[in-house]
Structure formats: C-alpha cells, structure tokens
C-alpha cells in the first residue's frame, strides 16, 4: 500500500487558526505599520532635510525621503515575518505545546511548519498593504507599479519567515533570539541600502551587502513604488526565492529533528 502524502492542503487549517487569533487584536496589529511611516517621514523629512538634500540611487538623483519611504516597506516585511516565525512560533511550540496537539491530528510537521511560514508572509503582506496606503497617500508611491509591492511582500515574507523558522528550530530558549536579532537582523536593517544607498559604502562593504536578502527586497519595493521595475528586478526576486527555498529546507530539517522524538 502506498504511503500517505507528507504534504496536503490541510496546512491552511493552521494558517486559518493564526488568522483567527490575529483578527482578534487587529487594531493593535494594524497600528504600527500605519504609524511607523508617519513617524519616520516626519523625522527624516523635517529633521534631516537640512542635512541631506539629495541621494543618488542606481545613477538617479532623488530626494532623500523618496529614496527612504519604500525602504520602510521592505523593513516592515522583514520584521513582521521574522518576528512571527521566531518569537511567536517559539511560544506556540515551546510554551503553549500547540504543535504537540497538532501532531495528534492528521497534520504533519511539514504542513505545520509551512503553514507558520506562509502565515508570517501573510502578516507581512497585511502590514505592507497598510503601510503602502499611508506612503501612497503622502505621495511617495506615485506609480501604479506600487501595487506589485504586495506580491513582493509575500515573497519577502516567505524568505524572512523561513529564516525565522530555521532560527527557531535551533533555539533552546526564547532569550536566545536576541542574538540573531542584534547580530543579523538589526545590521541588515541598517546596511541593506535602506537608510542610504549602497553607493555610499566602500566597494567591499557594498558588495557584501548584496548577499543580504533585505537589500534585494528594498531594491524591489523602491523600484515598484517609483515605477522603475525592470528585467533586473527579476534577479532580485530570484534571489529571494532561492533564499526562501534554502531556509525552508533548513527549517523542515531542524523542526523534524526537534519535534519528531
């Protein structure tokens, strides 16, 4: 007799569970992505405007806030997805024993982990949508191409969600997440061509930054908001897809080792 499939559409049931919990505190979940761009744009628009007038991005001169606003979309995708599959998934797995209960149902480890990562990406899309609304209303996303930010956010959410889940699979206590956050996520947040173009860095540092997924995500959100999507954008998307695939494999291997005892 053939063996049962390890992966089916049943994973949506776990995704729906997370959506149900998210909806209960939607107001709290909705606030940060809407307020954050306001705060940053006020700070950078008013405070920095005297210091930096123009930046040059990919050979194009532009106002600093035009350069920076789309970066926030990329950063919020990273934070939303990574925090969901690191802290939140860890709490469900370790403290709430939710995965133990799930494994007594027809669900498999593979379905649970994919559902968590896809949910992380979904959260990222919701946050990016709200933030895009604010950014567009303020005039920082003048092109219709800005709508492509939504699928881009999903792809980026998968990449960072998988990265968070792979981290969770090897994390023994919740305090340990400080390490990847301060050593990987925060530097990535600062050095991915988000706050300033990579052209401002020495060549060696700039080339190092191109292996960071947030760099590729920020390039994509900026191109989309400014209507500059091009064949080169596909390269960035491909990088994120490969990154997501690698970390998905690592997540599944780590979680199988951890949960199947």
């Amino acid at each position: 007799m053939t063996a049962d499939a390890r992966f089916t559409g049943l994973f949506w049931a776990v995704w729906r569970r997370n959506l149900l919990v998210y909806r209960r505190i939607w107001a709290i979940n909705f606030l940060p992505p809407m307020l954050e761009p306001l705060f940053y744009l006020i700070a950078f628009g008013l405070g920095f405007s005297g210091l930096i007038t123009e930046v040059v991005w990919n050979g194009r001169a532009m106002a600093y806030t035009d350069f920076f606003a789309p970066s926030m979309l990329a950063a919020t995708v990273m934070w939303q997805a990574f925090l969901e599959t690191s802290y939140s998934s860890f709490v469900r797995m370790f403290y709430q024993k939710t995965y133990d209960a799930l494994l007594a149902t027809p669900l498999t480890v593979e379905e649970i982990i994919v559902a968590e990562i896809v949910w992380g990406a979904t959260r990222a899309v919701i946050a990016a949508t709200l933030m895009l609304g604010v950014i567009a209303a303020l005039g920082y996303a003048p092109s219709w191409q800005a709508l492509v930010v939504l699928p881009i956010a999903f792809l980026g959410g998968l990449a960072f969600g998988a990265m968070g889940m792979a981290t969770t699979s090897v994390t023994s206590s919740i305090d340990m997440f400080n390490l990847p956050i301060f050593l990987v996520i925060t530097p990535m947040f600062l050095f991915s061509g988000t706050f300033f173009p990579l052209g401002g860095l020495p060549a060696w540092a700039a080339s190092m930054a191109t292996v960071l997924p947030l760099y590729h995500l920020a390039e994509l959100t900026r191109s989309a908001c400014l209507g500059l999507l091009s064949p080169a954008s596909l390269g960035h998307a491909l990088f994120l897809a490969v990154f997501a695939a690698i970390f998905l494999v690592l997540s599944l291997a780590g979680m199988r080792r951890r949960l199947v005892r």
Binding site: D4, R17, K97, P106, V260
Partner: protein, 307 residues
Amino acid sequence: MEQPHDEPILAVSGARKTYGAFEAVRDVSFAVSRGECFGLLGPNGAGKTTTIRMIYGFSPASGGSITVFGQDIRTGFRRIKSRLGVCQQGNTLDPDLSVLENLLVFAGYFGIPRAEARIRADELLAFFALEAKKRFQYEELSGGMARRLMLARAIINRPELLILDEPTTGLDPQSRNTLWDRLLDLKRQGLTILLTTHAMEEAERFCDRLCIIDHGQVVVTGEPAGLMAERVGRYALEVESPEEAMAVHLAEAGIRFDRSGRRLIAYGDDKAALLALRERFCAESGFIRTATLEDVFLRLTGRELRE
C-alpha cells in the same frame, strides 16, 4: 480499505523505542479489539507515554510493528490519525482561543467542514457540561473544565479509537467523577479506548483488559478480575510492624505475602484463614480488606519508589 471485523483495532508487536543508549521501550506487544477498553498500566518511566506516542505516530518506533485499523502507522499515518482521538497527558489546549474556538479550530485540522464542526461542537459542549462556558477564554477554565475540553476536543472527529494518557491525574474528586461518568457513557456507546493510568481504581473500573508494563516491557496481560484472582486472591491482611515469626510462618505455609517498609500484606481467597492468622499474630494491628488491583500492581512492579 475496510478491515475484517474480528481483526484487532490496534496491534502492537515487539515495539521498541530507543533514545541513544537509553531504551524507553524494550519490547511491548498487545492487541485491542473493537469496543474494548484496554489499560496500559505501569509506574512512572515505565514507557507508557512513549508507547502511546508511537501508536499515534508522534514518535517513530525504533523497532517492531504497530498497526491501527489494519494499517501500518509508518505509511498510513494520515488515514489512521483521521480516525483516532488523542487526549494527551499535559494540557495542550490552545490558549489563544476560546472554549468554542478550541473545538472549531481543532475540527478544521481534521478537514471537517465548518457547519458540521458547529453541530458537533454544540453536541460536545452539552455532553461535557461546558455550554455555559463556551465563550470562556482559556485562563478562565478550571483544571476540571480544561480536562473535559481536552476530551471533547479529542472526540470531535468521532474517532474509532480514543487514546487517553492519564486523563484524571491531578483532578479533584468531583472533576474526576464527572470525567469518569462521561468516559463510561462513551464506552457504553461502543467506543474503543486505550487508557494509561496509575490510578488503579480507574483501571479496575474501566478496563476490560489491561497490561502492566515496567522497564519498557510487558509484565502481565489479562482481565482485572482474573489478574487479581491469579496473583493475589480476594482478600488481603495488612499488618503494621508484625513480629518476625509471622513472616517465617507465612513463608513456611506457602502463603503469598509482600513487605512494604514496616507493613506486611498477606493475600488469600480464604477469609477465615486470614482471620485465623490475624488472631494468631496481630489481633491488635492487623486488618482484613478486599484485595485490589493495586496489590497486583505493587506485587509485580515492586514497592520501591520510582523517581
């Protein structure tokens, strides 16, 4: 594929589970037939929970074979688990959800359509006297309510085999009795149950058959009454700090007895003979009682502490 009716619902054969050098389960075999309540008894660390986890596919067995509903758990895990109800030992309710949501969301994990899940959830809430609590959040539930909800959740998929891992441990007598009533109802409806417990009263009350496992191996299998008759007899004479002459006499006369600290317990079917012993050695401190499954359990697994 439908299995023949006389085939056991669950067959565990030579199951083994090792963690590195540690053998949690060495060799466990038993079979459970349809409609039966089968008990898995043993001291802490005997391998009960590990055995159960192998049966519901949580832990892959290191050796032996496990078939449920005629299918191998290694290949038919999804088909098996969709027909299985599992009530785990610890509380694994979803703390982010209300009582009702816990049932509805769990039904979703079995692919049960929402409308059908609603109907079943309402039935179960009524059955487990949780109707008034259905909007309760997790923190508002008492230990007894939480355990009833665990049980309700475990049967939302209308399982053919219900696995209960120490369902009443830590409950107060009221909650325990309520839970027992519900379990008895389920049993009368013909549900097949696999139960682990170290509450001997519970095992005596529910189990048609049981096996006692210790150090990862089956020590004995049988019906509770049969095991009691065979291993201890109907009565027990219990004495606090008896004179040594008593033990010597019992040994010479071939009467079964055990010692536990300062206590001595002699067993037998003949009440008059035990009364005579009491008269002779311990008229003051000895008393006669009905033998219990606990006597069998302690005879077979020893009286020393398991920690």
